[in-house]
Subunit: 210 residues, 2 copies
């Protein structure tokens, strides 16, 4: 089964698409964690022959790191879109948490999140660093969106953006871990709405103070 590549290079063409194989690797790691995955799991799940897997990607750790980075890029882009596309802060946070819940409970893949649920348990410095960086970046984005909300007059000037950003992230982590535990999407979506009600001032109208 050949894959058409507009750039013709000598040698037998690959029977798999590298990017698509990584997407399958994400599914494997999401369903079995890191330590629970064997090379054969990846070979079967990615549809890549064992020698090809080693020559193209490297060992399990390298596959995981690449899968993690790919996952992080997709997730980060979608999270940024959810955060900065809407006009109101409320819609932004709702979209942010809803997106977190939806990807953590998407059909066709095991529930959970590679960065939040799996990566923190991997005892590898590079993986840990990635998870920390991803968390810091996401928190910073939420915080920035809240600051924009202040600038837009949607939030009071003394709104604790730093603390609230951390809390939005922690609430998202909680929702994601519950997704991993098997909580139904419907419940989590409702709780995501409640979370937004919690972190934002009750009145979405103008600032109460000077």
């Amino acid at each position: 089964m050949t894959v058409q590549n507009h750039r013709r290079v000598p040698g037998r063409p690959r029977s798999f698409d590298e990017r698509h194989a990584l997407e399958k690797a994400i599914r494997v790691f999401r369903s079995k964690g890191y330590d629970g995955v064997t090379i054969d799991d990846l070979v079967v799940g990615m549809g890549v022959g064992r020698p090809s897997l080693y020559s193209v990607f490297g060992d399990k750790r390298a596959v995981f790191l690449r899968a993690l980075r790919a996952y992080g890029e997709e997730k980060g882009a979608l999270a940024a879109k959810a955060l900065f596309a809407p006009t109101t802060v409320r819609d932004s946070l709702t979209g942010f948490l809803r997106h977190a819940v939806e990807t953590a409970t998407e059909e066709g893949s095991a529930p959970g999140c590679l960065i939040i649920c799996v990566a923190p348990l991997v005892s590898d410095p590079e993986v840990r660093q990635f998870a920390q960086d991803a968390a810091a970046a996401a928190t910073a984005q939420v915080e920035r969106r809240l600051r924009d909300g202040i600038r837009a007059g949607e939030l009071p000037d003394n709104f604790p953006v730093s603390a609230r950003a951390i809390q939005v992230m922690d609430l998202g982590r909680g929702l994601t871990m519950r997704a991993q535990m098997g909580a139904p999407r419907k419940v989590l979506l409702r709780d995501a709405e409640d979370a937004v009600d919690l972190v934002l001032p009750p009145a979405a109208s103008t600032t109460p103070g000077g």
Copy 2:
């Protein structure tokens, strides 16, 4: 009837205490997860000979389940104490989350929590069920404490106890996952305080008359 107070049984006495061995097993699983733990890890970490481990506890899964139950009993008891000993709702929630942070960052053991961080990733029905039950029980306890707060006049009658209990739990999950990721205790304790400020009404005193 012979009094069996004397536990003098024939045979060579054991060189380990079953309870203490389980405590060591908890440390092993906390530091390496579930799939990352080998029998030899348990043999070394628990200080129990390999044949003794199999005859006394069973296989790895059985050891994990017993460790999980022991861990859950300790944690549940301490959580209940933190929740129901203080007089004010604020002190209860603060103690609850502080306790969660402190055990998740205690010295001498890897950061994290067996029930929140490790168990959800174990693909075993019994483990999953335990994690779900533990989460439901903890949420119910928090909710009950909030209800007591309403009854004591500390919280308004329309205080959304169900949603707030869920949010306290999710915030605790977030704090715990960050502990697992390496966040320092000091930061997490501060965020725990902020979390309580978030979920409780700004005025903790009684409603002003008039």
